[in-house]
Amino acid sequence: MGNFDFLDDVRRMNKRQLFYQVLNFGMIVSSALMIWKGLMVVTSSESPIVVVLSGSMEPAFHRGDLLFLTNHQSDPIRVGEIVVFKIEGREIPIVHRVLRLHEKEDGKVKFLTKGDNNSVDDRGLYAPGQLWLERKDVVGRARGFVPYVGIVTILMNDYPKFKYLVLLGLGLFVLIHRE
């Protein structure tokens, strides 16, 4: 009985307070969106934070680690950098290290990557007929790293029901909670 005290709050709310709660919810969502878009502008990357999805960069990065990316055009790509790239036609970004690089006078660059934990380079992963990666394939370069935090995202992807549960629960909590 004590656990449902908060529902009494809802019954006591009149129309204006309910409206206020919904607006509150909207503010939280827009603030989160603003922070994300702001990060995108500051880092020049379309995806400033990514979660590592595979074990191909172990022991440096494990599944579930979080990477902070930047992608400034004035910052040249060099060997040894950890780049996050997408293969044309595939959704999933790959996090590997640049192994080989050739750059022309005008700045046009082509490079080859390899995962630290893989024994061969990535040519087998590229699109058929593609031997090199170019600047346009790069989503960002890894500049910072935090371990484990991304596990939540992986859990939510692997178990979609869990994702809906969490989102629903959070939404309900914000709408109902008075403070």
């Binding site: 022991p59 440096a60 060997v79 040894g80 192994l99 380079d121 790293f145």
Partner: protein
């Protein structure tokens, strides 16, 4: 604070805040290290062969053996999980203004031996050029760099203090 649920909630929130603060502290205390160290590299037995890459492109393949001496122990601290070392050959050709090829790499985890004293190491990755600019090239620079992988924080790439230059012969070798 009088139900199990609200107590669990508070404990959980507190744990998360403490862990976040600790992680940030870990990052902040080592963010300004320069991670430098001096390195000596020497190369021997330079040769060049003509051949095909695994993708059937006609190309030239350079080869050499190297010695490496460096002490990387001072770089390790509580926030360095591993060092990813890579040996880069950098040179300029007619076709490309900049070429960088990683020929050898190594992972050193914290706790493993970080005093490098290698002799006669062979290249791990083939030394192909994009084109035919290697034959007789007289200014290929070899540097050792490392990528510092922290427990949490920035991922800097540092050039070792010390590099060597060498040239490849004009004649193809048949061996």
């Amino acid at each position: 604070m009088n139900t199990v649920l609200s107590r669990l909630n508070t404990v959980f929130a507190f744990t998360l805040s403490v862990m976040a603060a600790l992680t940030f502290g870990c990052f902040l205390t080592t963010a300004f290290n320069d991670n430098l160290s001096s390195v000596q590299i020497e190369t021997f037995k330079h040769s060049i062969k003509s051949g095909y890459t695994p993708y059937n492109e006609r190309s030239e393949r350079g080869n050499f053996v190297f010695d490496l001496h460096a002490d990387l122990n001072p770089i390790f601290n509580w926030n360095v999980k591993q060092l990813f070392l890579y040996l880069t050959a950098e040179y300029k050709t007619e076709q490309n203004a900049l070429n960088q090829v990683v020929l050898w790499d190594k992972i050193i985890l914290r706790g493993n031996a970080a005093l490098l004293d290698y002799r006669g190491i062979k290249m791990k990755y083939p030394f192909f050029d994009d084109g035919n600019g290697l034959k007789g090239h007289d200014n290929i620079t070899l540097t050792l760099s490392w990528n510092v992988i922290p427990n949490a924080g920035m991922l800097p790439r540092i050039f070792g203090d010390g590099s060597t230059s060498f040239s490849l012969p004009v004649q193809y070798s048949n061996r």
